[in-house]
């Protein structure tokens, strides 16, 4: 017999309870379970570090308080620079490159998406640029810039300190990545927005400036911050052309004292720099997701 709603009403009320084993971790039991598993994990880690012989030497090599302190302070007598002093170099290189990359990357993205005939040759150039610098390993870029430019006798361009060449190399590579981030953001703005702006008689520039860019910024910020987190870490690579920043200072300390606590201190300093940024990025991503979910209902 056919009935409108498919099945007929059941004789007995249907069973709606979950199986018992899936109820174990509900409510208060769930909290107890998560506390217990956390405690167990911490216990295992401590046991490995303090009770095993491997743990002992690991602690001595990487977490020796004496050498951690020397790493922070530096030791002028043995020509070991301070790891803390080194991170200052990383920070200013990062800050400088960040600003340059933001501006230069936007310029490249802009050139690549505008259709003004005047810019056509530049568009090709910008595309080639982005392809090249996204395709060459950064290590090579930094050698090419750091050892290549000084050989060319190009006046001021060949007379800079290694740190400046490091900045040039970082800016070249990261602008290529960031221009792609911008481009994706600019394309994420619905075409109807552009039609509406142009229909109001706004010029192509005003449309970009007042309608497209402000909307693209929101989608662009999280991936942009992700690139900046890598940029922060990659400032260590300028040591390849002779800049003594924190990782290089740590390596010198480790070679001098045969102790890895210098590396640990340098790593901790990097974390102090990057973790606020990673947390902030995740926070923005979550907030954006919540907003979109709220908009979806």
């Amino acid at each position: 017999m056919l009935s409108g709603t498919g099945a007929d009403a059941p004789d007995a009320p249907p069973l709606l309870f979950a199986p018992r084993r899936r109820l174990i971790f509900k409510g208060r039991n769930g909290l107890i379970a998560s506390l217990a598993s956390s405690a167990a994990l911490v216990a295992v880690i401590l046991a490995v570090l303090f009770a095993t012989s491997g743990g002992q030497s690991f602690r001595f090599y990487f977490f020796n308080p004496h050498f951690l302190w020397i790493a922070l302070r530096g030791d002028p007598l043995k020509a070991v620079g301070s790891v803390l002093g080194g991170i200052v170099t990383n920070i200013w290189i990062f800050l400088l490159c960040e600003v340059l990359v933001l501006v230069f990357g936007l310029l490249i993205a802009w050139i690549r998406i505008t259709t003004t005939p005047l810019l056509v040759p530049f568009r090709l150039l910008a595309t080639i640029y982005a392809d090249i610098f996204r395709g060459i390993p950064f290590v090579l870029v930094i050698y090419i810039v750091g050892y290549g430019l000084p050989q060319l006798s190009l006046g001021a361009l060949s007379n800079q300190s290694p740190a400046v060449y490091g900045c040039i190399a970082l800016t070249l590579t990261y602008s290529a990545y960031v221009s792609e981030v911008y481009r994706a953001g600019l394309h994420s703005v619905p075409h109807g927005q552009i039609l509406a702006a142009r229909s109001l008689g706004l010029t192509q520039y005003a449309t970009m400036r007042r309608v497209v860019l402000p909307q693209a910024v929101r989608t662009v910020i999280p991936p942009l911050l992700n690139d900046f987190i890598s940029l922060q870490k990659d400032t260590a690579l300028v040591s390849l052309i002779g800049v003594v920043e924190t990782s290089r200072a740590a390596q010198i300390g480790q070679e001098t004292y045969f102790n890895g606590s210098f590396l640990t201190m340098s790593a901790l300093l990097f974390l102090a720099m990057t973790i606020p940024m990673t947390r902030f990025t995740d926070h923005l991503i979550d907030r954006d997701r919540e907003k979109r979910l709220a908009g979806a209902q």
Partner: protein
């Protein structure tokens, strides 16, 4: 001639080999309301997009106040400032408040002073009863309210004519009325409008001229009584039968 606002003569538009507008001629006079009707895909949107130069035409001519828009010296941005365009999907700017949406064109395209534009924008909002929502973002408004804001946004440019493309099609049926009322109001105050619509009753009440497009051909044009009651062509008759 001097009260002709927009004149399209023998306009041809192709997408690849598909001829979407075939020899379409249509004139819009000052204070005149022309409704474009026709089946989906007949070319109504394309015609409006050609009129405000969002599409380039493949033949014929378009004149605004007697000046050909095909003249290479014509700046499309300046042309569009004379033609307000309202879309089916309101396309309000989500990052700007309702008031800023309305003020953007006058301030950034016409370079008029902000304080003067704000006053005018508030007056427009008052006209549609949304003066209390000026500071809110568009996504807080209902569809009907958003579309009415979109209409006054184009009015703020003080255009010589309005092009409206199925402005009620994306709306919940309960919200269609408020938008059509605003258009009726505008028609009464003498706004020149070219309206693509599926709302036949509205077209009958408001239009001075009704133009029927069939497969890119302007088959019939005349006062609403004539087109709706005594259509001259079979195609028109068939279309009207179907939508009734």
């Amino acid at each position: 001639m001097n009260n002709e606002v927009l004149k399209m003569s023998s306009v041809i538009k192709r997408f690849a080999h598909h001829e979407v507008l075939r020899d379409v001629s249509l004139t819009l006079h000052r204070h005149e309301v022309v409704c474009l009707i026709g089946a989906s895909g007949s070319g109504k949107s394309t015609l409006l997009r050609c009129a405000n130069l969002l599409e380039t035409i493949d033949g014929g001519d378009i004149e605004l106040f007697g000046q050909s828009l095909l003249d290479p010296r014509v700046d499309p941005d300046l042309v569009r400032r004379h033609m307000g365009t309202v879309f089916q999907s309101f396309n309000l700017f989500p990052h700007l408040s309702v008031l800023e949406n309305i003020a953007l064109g006058p301030v950034r395209a016409l370079k008029r002073p902000l304080h003067e534009v704000r006053e005018e924008a508030m007056a427009l909002l008052t006209r549609i009863g949304l003066q209390g929502r000026a500071a809110e973002f568009p996504d807080r408004l209902s569809g009907g309210q958003q579309q009415r804001v979109a209409i006054v946004r184009s009015l703020a440019m003080r255009p010589s004519l309005l092009l409206l493309d199925e402005v009620t099609s994306a709306l919940d049926p309960t919200l269609v009325g408020e938008v059509l009322d605003l258009l009726t109001d505008l028609a009464k105050s003498g706004t020149t409008m070219l309206i693509a619509t599926h709302e036949m009753n509205f077209a009958r009440d408001v239009a001075h001229q009704v133009a029927f497009l069939d497969n890119g051909v302007l088959v019939e044009k005349g006062p609403p009584d004539q087109v709706f009651e005594r259509p001259q062509h079979d195609a028109t008759r068939v279309f009207l039968e179907r939508v009734r």
